[in-house]
């Protein structure tokens, strides 16, 4: 036990017996296999089990194309808005202290603790045919629920904390010394933000943006409530997957699901690659 200095610096000086170590690694591996690895592989295996032709046909059908277009549109709007909001929220909360700051942090996190179905329901209560503003909206022929605006609003609500959450801990930990130096040297506030603060958080911002994109494209519960499932018009990719699966078109459902899975895998791959590169 006294020979700790002989071990590599990151290694631990005290350790479990070999057998215990192997048993724990095996147990963890079995758990992760059953809940992560097998479900992930299954998506692609089911999608491709009838061959590449059937797979590609499932993605080419008009309903699938319409779902992809709608999903990309919704994600583009939701992510843009939430990145700007995330930056503003993180800047306010991490660089300043003011009364009510903790309440604000709780409010920023609030959508995470609301069930997706309830999130969607909030907008139905507000804008639905029998909602609070329903009569007013139908009088002016504005359609929000069972249409694009409702899907966008529900998606924005659900994904709003993601970017802020990625940025806040990092901005807090980094402090403001560099910003203060830049300001002292005469840089304007905007210049300081763009050339000092943003580069400091660029990887967290990138990861938050990617995660927000993946979640915006994959949101199911909230969108399910406000969409109305109108084929070719208000069906995002996850809803398209649901409908195909319920129609027992399993291969087509998994084919559509594989697109969303690729987005998720790409999102996770970025921090992996970034860390590799910065280490090299």
């Amino acid at each position: 036990m006294a020979g700790g200095a002989l071990r590599p610096p990151r290694g631990h000086h005290v350790d479990e017996p070999r057998a215990v170590r192997f048993a724990l690694i095996g147990l963890a591996a079995a758990f992760l296999a059953a809940f992560l690895v097998v479900p992930l592989i299954a998506v692609f295996a089911f999608a491709l089990r009838e061959g590449l032709g059937v797979y590609l046909d499932a993605l080419r059908e008009p309903a699938a194309r319409a779902a992809v277009t709608l999903t990309l549109t919704v994600a583009a709007i939701a992510v843009t808005v939430n990145v700007l909001y995330g930056l503003a929220a993180a800047w306010s909360v991490s660089k300043f202290s003011f009364p009510g700051r903790n309440v604000l942090v709780t409010l920023i996190d609030l959508p995470f603790s609301v069930s997706p179905v309830v999130s969607g329901m909030l907008f139905v209560l507000l804008f639905g045919a029998r909602g609070l503003l329903g009569p007013f909206l139908s009088e002016h022929d504005v359609k929000i629920i069972f249409a694009l605006p409702g899907i966008v609003l529900a998606t924005i609500f659900v994904t709003s904390p993601i970017v802020a959450r990625e940025l806040i801990p990092l901005m807090q930990a980094q402090g403001s010394d560099e910003e203060e130096a830049a300001l002292t040297l005469g840089a304007s506030g905007w210049r300081t933000f763009l050339h000092v603060s943003l580069p400091k958080v660029r990887w967290a911002l990138l990861y938050g943006t990617l995660l927000c994109t993946a979640r915006a494209m994959g949101e199911f519960g909230a969108v399910s409530v406000v969409s109305g499932h109108i084929r070719g018009r208000t069906m995002t990719l996850p809803l398209h997957v649901e409908v195909l699966y319920n129609e027992y078109r399993t291969t087509a459902a998994f084919a559509a699901a594989s697109l969303l899975t690729l987005v998720a895998v790409a999102t996770l791959a970025v921090p992996f690659i970034v860390e590799r590169r910065s280490r090299a």
Partner: protein
């Protein structure tokens, strides 16, 4: 010093406006709509047998799943931080998959592999264990969605533990087992509990991954978000709102608990570089 940074009015103004429009106004409609029903009707809806069965399943299954994630989350964090094995970085990255994978995708995939003749289900059937279309299926889906939380709250704390404390205990004659159970694990209790509550809260509201695997039988395998969905489809907004309100208050209490726990071990802002 921090007072000198510019941009507070713009940033805070944007944040507050956004929160008011996107979060506060929609959430407040919940209270407006539920106040339109009488107290007696409210109580009738939230104590109806079907509602109570849904609450029981949602809270019970979310709790069980969070327990599973607590135990295995600490284990996975431990293995990732302490041991060396092939593909470790890849495994580490994969832990976040439930954060990024759409719940509907997870739902159909889990339902397929845990079905009676599925890749994993077929090995469980001989033991009389049925997962898909049972309440156990709900737990399986909720374990998936809550999996990253405990791992990610425990990992950094485990990494920062001072190895000298372990060495000192060992030098003083403590066995490895008592070092782990009496020194290491107690130090991980608060982050593990934080992760547990986060996983519980996340599982509570989950919809997409559950509905494909649960079978959705009223009174048996119908989760609360699904019941809310059914009420909405029948245009019974007040009933949906009442069920959601009770549910939401529970989630909010959990969120406050998380913030308390996090404050117990995180560095408070302003404590640095003062």
């Amino acid at each position: 010093m921090r007072r000198t940074l510019p941009g507070l009015p713009l940033a805070l103004g944007t944040t507050l406006t956004y929160l008011a429009l996107i979060v506060l106004i929609p959430v407040s409609t919940l209270f407006v709509v539920s106040s339109s029903m009488t107290w007696a009707r409210f109580v009738e809806v939230v104590t109806a047998p079907r509602t109570l069965a849904a609450y029981r399943l949602s809270f019970g299954a979310a709790f069980l799943a969070a327990i599973v994630n607590l135990v295995f989350g600490v284990l996975v964090a431990w293995v990732l931080e302490r041991y060396r094995f092939p593909f470790k970085r890849l495994v580490d990255g994969m832990v976040d998959l439930p954060f990024a994978l759409p719940t509907a995708v997870a739902g159909i995939s889990l339902a397929s592999i845990y079905a009676k003749d599925g890749w994993i289900g077929r090995w469980l059937t001989p033991f009389g264990v049925e997962v898909a279309f049972t309440r156990l299926g709900v737990v399986v889906a909720l374990v998936f969605v809550g999996l990253p939380f405990v791992v990610r709250t425990v990992q950094p704390v485990l990494r920062d533990l001072d190895p000298e404390v372990e060495e000192a205990a060992e030098t003083l004659g403590a066995s490895r087992f008592s070092v782990v159970t009496r020194i290491l694990l107690p130090g991980l209790a608060v982050p593990a509990l934080t992760g547990f509550v986060l996983a519980f809260a996340r599982a509570l509201g989950e919809y997409g991954s559950v509905i494909f695997i649960s079978g959705n039988m009223p009174m048996r395998s119908e989760i609360t978000p699904l019941l809310i969905m059914i009420q909405l489809e029948q245009y019974d907004y007040p009933a949906a709102t009442a069920i959601a309100l009770v549910f939401l208050l529970a989630s909010f209490v959990l969120l406050l608990l998380v913030n308390r726990l996090t404050a117990a071990y995180a560095t408070p802002p302003g404590a640095r570089g003062a």
